[in-house]
C-alpha cells in the first residue's frame, strides 16, 4: 500500500489527511500517482499537480518525477505559512 499524506488546504480537497491506496504497477513516479488519483478525482489531481505544491517521499523532499514504490509514504505539501 502507498500511504498518501495531504497537508493544509489539500487535506480539505482530498476529504482527509491520510489515505492508503494500492498503487497499480504502472505508477512509477509521483506524476503517475497524481494521474492515477485523477481517474477518481480530477479536482484533487489538479490541486496536487499545481506548480506551488511540493512533494515528499518517505519524508524527503523530491521532484514530481521522483520514483515511488508501493510501500512509500508520499506527502503533498501546499505553500507553507509559518511564523
Amino acid at each position: 500500500m502507498t500511504r498518501l499524506l495531504y497537508f493544509g488546504k489539500l487535506a480539505d480537497i482530498a476529504g482527509g489527511r491520510m489515505r492508503e491506496i494500492p498503487a497499480p504497477d504502472h505508477v512509477e513516479t509521483i506524476s503517475d500517482l497524481i494521474a492515477h488519483i485523477g481517474e477518481a478525482d480530477a479536482v484533487l489531481a489538479a490541486a496536487l499537480a499545481d506548480e506551488t505544491v511540493r512533494y515528499a517521499v518517505n519524508e524527503e523532499i523530491v521532484s514530481r518525477e521522483a520514483a515511488i514504490s508501493n510501500t512509500d509514504e508520499v506527502a503533498f505539501l501546499p505553500p507553507v505559512s509559518g511564523g
Binding site: L5, F7, G8, K9, D12, A56, E59, I61, A75, L77, P78, P79, V80, S81, G82, G83
Partner: protein, 153 residues
C-alpha cells in the same frame, strides 16, 4: 535548539534560559511573534497550525544552517507552536546569540523571513466568518528575496 510543540511557552523564561546557556556572548537578539486578534475574515477565534513531524524540524534546521554559514552566530533557539493557538498567544520565538550585535540582528531577521516562507507549517485562520488557509503575502516572499538578491551580509 529547535522545538516544535503544541504546548504554550513563556517567552521570558525561554529567553532567560537561553541567556544562561550563552554567557560568553556579547549579544542576544530575540524576536517574539504573537497571534493577532484580527484575521482576514474578522475577529480571530483561533489559529490552527499543522506541521509534518520530522520534515518540519529538518526544514528549520536547514534554515539555521544557512544562517550559521552566513553570520558568526554561536547559538540559536527557535520555538514554534502548532495545533490550536488563541489570539494574543505567542506563536514563534527566535533567539540568536553572537559575539557582536550585527550578526545577531541579521541572523534573527533572516531566520524569521525563512520561517515564514520555507519551513513546513500550514496555518488556518478560524474567524466568525469561517475558516481560511493562510498563504504568505507577497511582502513575505519579497522579504526572503532580499537575502538572495542583495549583498545583505
Amino acid at each position: 535548539m529547535i522545538r516544535v510543540s503544541e504546548k504554550p511557552f513563556e517567552p521570558g523564561a525561554e529567553l532567560s534560559a537561553f541567556e544562561n546557556q550563552t554567557a560568553d556572548e556579547g549579544a542576544i537578539v530575540s524576536f517574539l511573534g504573537k497571534v493577532r486578534p484580527k484575521g482576514a475574515g474578522g475577529d480571530l477565534i483561533a489559529l490552527k497550525l499543522e506541521h509534518y513531524s520530522g520534515v518540519t524540524e529538518r526544514s528549520i534546521a536547514d534554515i539555521v544552517a544557512k544562517a550559521e554559514e552566513r553570520w558568526s552566530i554561536s547559538n540559536s533557539l527557535i520555538i514554534h507552536r502548532v495545533g490550536a493557538i488563541d489570539p494574543g498567544e505567542p506563536i514563534v520565538l527566535v533567539c540568536v546569540a553572537a559575539k557582536h550585535r550585527r550578526d545577531a540582528f541579521k541572523a534573527a531577521d533572516f531566520l524569521m523571513d525563512y520561517l515564514k516562507t520555507e519551513a513546513y507549517f500550514w496555518k488556518k485562520e478560524i474567524t466568525s466568518a469561517g475558516e481560511e488557509w493562510i498563504e504568505p503575502r507577497k511582502g513575505d516572499y519579497d522579504d526572503v528575496k532580499r537575502w538572495q538578491t542583495s549583498k545583505l551580509s
